[in-house]
């Protein structure tokens, strides 16, 4: 009996440090943030309680609506481009011998910080930058493309930088998934005379499904949270046209000093993320129950 008790005690003691860190440094601040969202507060003077007004403002504030739409563009684009590129590249790399050079090339951007990625891509997109230099050299026309000031081209431009940075991680995840697929069904399909595309469609892709779920959830959550890259490249501008929700939240809090409104936006954003990743957590839960 005593041993059982000590075992239970140990099981909690093992979780305690991690739990404490998360509760003290993340959970409590989050709850404080919820509290702030009910106030009008400029960071200096006394906060004034205004109830749900900050949340109501979200629906009528054109800046919030636009940033919400931009966030949706980010999510959709992330699923369409970096994720599907990554899947394609992973399948290709599986086909060829000695793909480690390519793996390295596609993965290197991930080790570079967002600040650096921002600087690198400002150099690419600026009026006299790399891309425009190439474009004028090819077209022999001095007209340049305004990558970062035209709407919605600026968002697309940043999504290109995002793809450059993020594709590697999804590629690695898909590669890991591919190595776990048993070869027998594929060989059977080859004997049946199926071509590569048919094999991919009928065998590989369905068997990749668990890892695809992970990648898609990750991709969605990450693109909802995008901040650094936009902050470095356009600051959300011009005229707030390329903001996403995370940037709007930051702008309201740190440059407009609408602390309460910023807190409210972050709550709305979190709610959306929770709803989306909720499905994933649920599947985790099911898996757990199956395991035991």
């Amino acid at each position: 009996m005593n041993e059982r008790k000590s075992k239970i005690l140990i099981s909690y003691l093992f979780v305690l440090p991690a739990l404490l860190f998360v509760v003290v440094f993340l959970l409590i601040p989050m709850i404080q943030n919820v509290y702030y969202s009910f106030f009008a507060w400029n960071g200096l003077s006394k906060p004034i309680f205004i109830g749900l007004k900050n949340f109501q403002k979200c629906f009528v504030d054109p800046n919030f609506v636009r940033s919400f739409m931009n966030t949706i563009i980010w999510v959709v684009f992330t699923l369409l481009v970096p994720v599907s590129f990554a899947l394609l590249v992973a399948v290709f790399l599986k086909e060829i011998k000695g793909g480690s050079f390519f793996k390295g090339v596609f993965f290197i951007p991930l080790t570079i910080s967002f600040v650096s990625t921002g600087v690198i891509w400002i150099n690419m997109f600026s009026t006299k930058g790399v891309l425009n230099t190439i474009i004028t050299a090819v077209t022999r026309n001095p007209d340049t493309v305004s990558w970062l000031t035209q709407v919605p081209l600026n968002t697309i431009a940043m999504l290109i930088a995002w793809t450059w940075q993020q594709m590697g991680v999804y590629m690695v995840l898909f590669l890991m998934g591919l190595t776990t697929i048993p070869q027998d069904p594929i060989e059977a399909a080859v004997i049946d005379g199926a071509n590569k595309f048919q094999i991919f469609k009928a065998v590989t892709f369905p068997m990749l499904q668990p890892i695809t779920t992970v990648v898609i959830t990750q991709a969605i959550v990450n693109s909802f949270k995008t901040f650094d890259l936009i902050y470095v490249i356009t600051h959300g501008g011009p005229y707030r046209s390329s903001e996403t929700m995370a940037v709007t939240m930051y702008r309201e809090t740190f440059s407009m000093f609408n602390m309460g409104y910023g807190a409210a936006i972050s709550l709305v954003l979190s709610a959306i993320i929770i709803i989306i990743s909720g499905g994933y957590v649920k599947s985790q839960l099911k898996q757990d129950l199956l395991h035991y």
């Binding site: 000590s6 140990i10 003691l13 440090p17 960071g43 200096l44 003077s45 997109f125 600026s126 009026t127 006299k128 340049t144 305004s146 990558w147 970062l148 000031t149 035209q150 600051h235 501008g237 011009p238 005229y239 707030r240 702008r251 809090t253 740190f254 440059s255 407009m256 000093f257």
Partner: protein, 423 residues
């Protein structure tokens, strides 16, 4: 038993962290070191300038200071604002004049420097003192003064046999001649947000300086016909191609364009000379400056003034020592010792300024002798909440001048809301 071992293990790992951490905190010794916060990052960063100043004040007063730079203005403002009520408040920090300073003064976060202003009364003029007075106290003092002329490439003017324009028509002639020669007249950008107000304020003061002041202080509306007229003129200039692409880099790349005669002029503060033009290879003898003529002849000669104030946080520690340093810094020698490195105009008008390049000396002479009216920069002259929205609206206009109606409507909305909320 084993459990004990584990706990011990963890302790052994955490303990050195704690020790390391505490050992690295600023050492406690007798010497008092003050601190200063600023956001003058980028090129050139002001960190070495403040370091040098610290040596100067140590020599003069016995107290030096460390300086901390913040990489972005928004994060800087947020940090300063939140530290002001605490004992983490910086001794000294750079700030902006007028409305941006008033916010802090209204919340009682700034140290009253009236005694020091009294002491230096005969060095600073009464209007300068007024500019830093809120309620019945004077806060902060100007580190440096910067005027906003048109910088031009003398070679371009020589090649096209142009004269420095003194009227609006001459100015338009200069621009058109450049355009014909394939040279873009002006560097201009929306990148970095704030540079959008530059042409706006010039267009308004060129219409009527009183209108500009009224507009900034809420007595005129953005839909005022004279404001709209100024906007329309600006829009024509944009459509004619007087400005570089809205996404241009007006710093290193811009200086390169200026140097290679791709661009003829840039309207920028006097700091642009030493911060951007010369460090990027523009020869000093090629740089000239003139005051932009007013498009409305009745507006007279006007130029934008940007004051760079240093203020003292009320809650900071070591106030006595801080005051000694500030006292010295306000003096002519102290002030000049700092601005000498920036090649700027001293905030103390009595400060020696023999280090100024000739082009700046000439500019100052013109301002002093030709009855030029000084007006505060829009960034400081209008309340921050309006300015933050306005710079984005100006960007919208610069990218698409046809959006004028929307821009005016949005500006009116934000200004009306703000002025209604403070009344």
């Amino acid at each position: 038993m084993k459990k004990g071992l584990l706990v011990l293990c963890v302790m052994l790992m955490v303990l050195p962290t704690m020790l390391f951490a505490s050992g690295d905190q600023e050492s406690v010794d007798d010497e008092i070191v003050l601190n200063l916060m600023h956001d003058k990052s980028g090129a050139p960063g002001w960190v070495p300038f403040f370091d040098h100043m610290s040596e100067v004040t140590t020599e003069a007063t016995g107290y030096g200071f460390t300086n901390t730079v913040f990489p972005a203005t928004d994060i800087y403002m947020a940090q300063v604002r939140s530290s002001l009520p605490t004992d983490e408040a910086p001794n000294m920090f750079t700030w902006w004049s007028t409305y941006r300073m008033k916010e802090l003064a209204d919340e009682d976060m700034l140290m009253d420097l009236t005694p020091l202003w009294d002491k230096h009364a005969d060095e600073y003029g009464e209007d300068l003192r007024q500019a830093f007075t809120f309620g019945d106290a004077v806060y902060g003092f100007p580190l440096n003064n910067e005027y906003w002329p048109v910088w031009y490439n003398k070679e371009v003017f020589k090649d096209l046999s142009l004269e420095v324009p003194t009227t609006w028509d001459e100015f338009i002639y200069v621009c058109d001649t450049m355009l014909e020669a394939g040279i873009t007249p002006f560097l201009s950008t929306v990148e970095g947000r704030w540079p959008t107000f530059i042409m706006f304020e010039e267009m308004i003061i060129g219409e009527d300086p009183d209108l500009y002041v009224d507009l900034c202080e809420g007595r005129a509306k953005y839909s005022d016909p004279r404001v709209v007229k100024a906007f329309e003129l600006w829009g024509d200039m944009i459509r004619k191609g007087y400005f570089t692409e809205p996404g241009s880099d007006i710093w290193a790349v811009g200086a390169g364009q200026f140097n290679q005669k791709e661009v003829g002029m840039a309207l920028m503060g006097t700091w642009y000379y030493g911060a951007t033009l010369t460090p990027n290879g523009v020869p000093e003898e090629n740089i000239g400056a003139f005051i932009l003529p007013s498009h409305n002849p009745d507006a007279g000669n006007n130029i934008i003034l940007e004051m760079g104030p240093l203020v003292v946080a009320k809650n900071a520690k070591n106030m006595e020592e801080t005051m000694e340093v500030v006292d010295y810094w306000m003096s002519p020698e102290g002030n000049s010792a700092f601005v000498e490195q920036l090649l700027s105009f001293p905030g103390n008008p009595k400060g020696p300024a023999e280090f100024l390049p000739q082009v700046k000396v000439d500019l100052l002479n013109t301002i002093n002798t030709e009855n030029v009216r000084l007006l505060n920069r829009y960034w400081e002259a209008t309340p921050t909440p309006i300015c933050e929205v306005a710079v984005d609206e100006f960007a919208r206009f610069m990218i698409n001048p046809d959006s004028l109606e929307t821009v005016i409507a949005n500006l009116d909305t934000v200004a009306d809301n703000y002025w209604a909320s403070v009344k």
